[in-house]
Amino acid sequence: MVSGGIYSGKFGELRKLFNALRLRGYRVIAPKLEDSVIRLKEVTSFDEVPYGWEDIQAPGKYSVREGGKHFRHGPDAPKRILYPPRLELFRLRPDWSVEYPKERFPPTALFAIKPCDLASISVMDRVQGGIGDPYYLALRKKLIIIVENCVEPGATCFCSTMGTGPEARDGFDIAYTRLDDDLVVFRPGSDLGVELLSELNIEPATDEVLRKYYDALKNASLKAKAPFELERLPDELELGLNSPVFKEVAERCFGCAGCNMVCPTCFCFDVIDEPELDGGAVRVRVWDGCFSYTYAEVAGGNFRKDLWARYRHWVLHKFAYWVRQFGVFGCVGCGRCITWCPAGIDLRETIKSVVEWVRSRGGS
């Protein structure tokens, strides 16, 4: 009988878990290898999950290879599912009556997402959930989360610094960790998680397995670090408002807002009314971003007309304003903005340099 606690079993139990989700009618969204990139997509078979593949990530670079033991998160964050890039909000009929889209979201299981992405969902719960976005909440309440702890973080990961990984702490239904090829550790995080795990052939973890488990996660947490500490970071960054670092880094920035798009928490959007020829209209919500000039454009222009000011705003929002606004950091340390920046700009270096600048002037 499974209750709270830590259990272990063979790799085959993961397959059973996956199939159990499908049998219960969940749409399962999981990592999936597509055109040499690990995506987050609907999968119908456990064999589609790219166990046995590994990604190699660096600033502005991404590749995969077969034979690696651990894959990490690719470019798609859960945001893509929970907060779609383009969402029809409603239709206006020619007689000006309003038609809301019918129930669109099937019960969904996120399978094998990473702790940083789990953390991003808890950030979205505060932001989109906090303001009561009905589109977000409709899907969120039908969501079940199976998270895979990270034994081998990638080169752009810094979840350890952000306190979001490599081990998932809460907010999941089941967390699992692949220790060896045929040894998986399971932890339930909800009643549903307990129920699902009860169907598997798993045992309470022995001391030896527990030791292995804690060692693996400890090693991982030493890797996923950024060259800065969170303590006092919001204050230090605000003292760095006039640091030349932002301008220097922004010289390399294209302003493409790719980072906004891949960021698992960036929530800026644009609302577009598209008139139809019959006199009706469609209102859609699309992802926008603070790097774009038009996002905060008002009559007469944008208050942050220079790109460096928009870059600075993004960094400060994630690491300072967000904390005051929502009580958590806006960054979960997934490193997507680093890997997927076509200019190869490393956010970690920016923050490190700003903090150094502040300290060199005796600030903080």
Partner: protein, 261 residues
């Protein structure tokens, strides 16, 4: 809803006619559209024409000859809203490649009697000659955006079309960045969205037919392309292709080519 039909004109200058063709390509919408729109001057569709003034005039093509300069001024006077349509009208088009060469050399290379050809020194975007109210970019222009523009004019709002970097649309669409994942040079970070990210969707880099996005920083992209191993000459060529004569790309090209023109 009955109202006066919108009088629309389509004029062609130095161009391939592909942009106008996008209007005729609106096969599913064309019949509904003509309930609200009257094409009063649109030679690719009909030889029946009516004089101006026009509510909306779409200009296809660049201004390449003295006659065209004259004509486009007259068209401007007859048009309430003037829209430059496509890469030629908004940036001078592929034919603007000749702007980096000597006109006489180009004429001699193409025509047996070059002295018969009266051409302007440069193939120019419409906005260099008359005031342009809106730009619809692309080679060819996007049918969806063209239709969206017309629909918005019809309801009487100020047309809103996003002018940000293609990257945003590409990533919204769920494409994987070809530059990051495949090392393919792509102009997407500095090119205006609107095409639906056709090329990256098929695993190719954007070659810039929509021209610079609002607030584009092509100089930063050029540095990055050189950093990942492209030669100056190749970077310049990539920018030159379709919208090289746009102010922002021209500056980068000239810098890469050492200011030679």
């Amino acid at each position: 809803m009955m109202r006066r039909k919108l009088k629309v004109a389509v004029f062609k200058f130095a161009s391939c006619s592909g942009c106008q063709l996008q209007i005729l390509n609106m096969e599913d919408e064309l019949l509904t559209l003509t309930d609200a729109v009257e094409f009063t001057y649109f030679l690719e569709a009909s030889r029946a024409t009516a004089p101006g003034p026009y509510d909306v005039t779409f200009i296809e093509g660049s201004i390449s000859t003295p006659e065209q300069e004259e004509l486009v001024r007259r068209v401007r006077e007859e048009s309430r809203i003037l829209v430059a349509m496509g890469a030629c009208a908004t940036a001078g088009g592929i034919q603007a490649l000749r702007n980096w060469l000597r006109l006489d050399d180009v004429k001699r290379a193409v025509y047996p009697n070059p002295e018969w050809v009266k051409a302007l020194e440069h193939s120019k975007p419409v906005a260099e000659v008359v005031k342009v109210d809106y730009e619809l970019r692309g080679c060819p222009v996007s049918k969806e955006r063209l239709l969206s523009f017309i629909k918005q004019v019809l309801v009487g709002r100020k047309p809103y079309l996003r002018r940000e970097a293609l990257c945003m649309d590409c990533r919204r669409k769920g494409n994987v960045c070809v530059m990051v994942a495949k090392g393919i040079p792509c102009l997407g970070p500095v090119v205006q969205e609107g095409c639906g990210a056709i090329c990256p969707t098929f695993g190719r880099g954007c070659y810039g037919c929509f021209g610079p996005s609002i607030d584009a920083r092509p100089e930063a992209l050029a540095s990055r392309l050189r950093e990942i191993g492209m030669k100056d000459r190749d970077v310049a060529r990539l920018f030159k292709g379709f919208t090289g004569w746009s102010e922002k790309f021209r500056k980068v090209i000239d810098e890469l080519e050492g200011g030679a023109r």
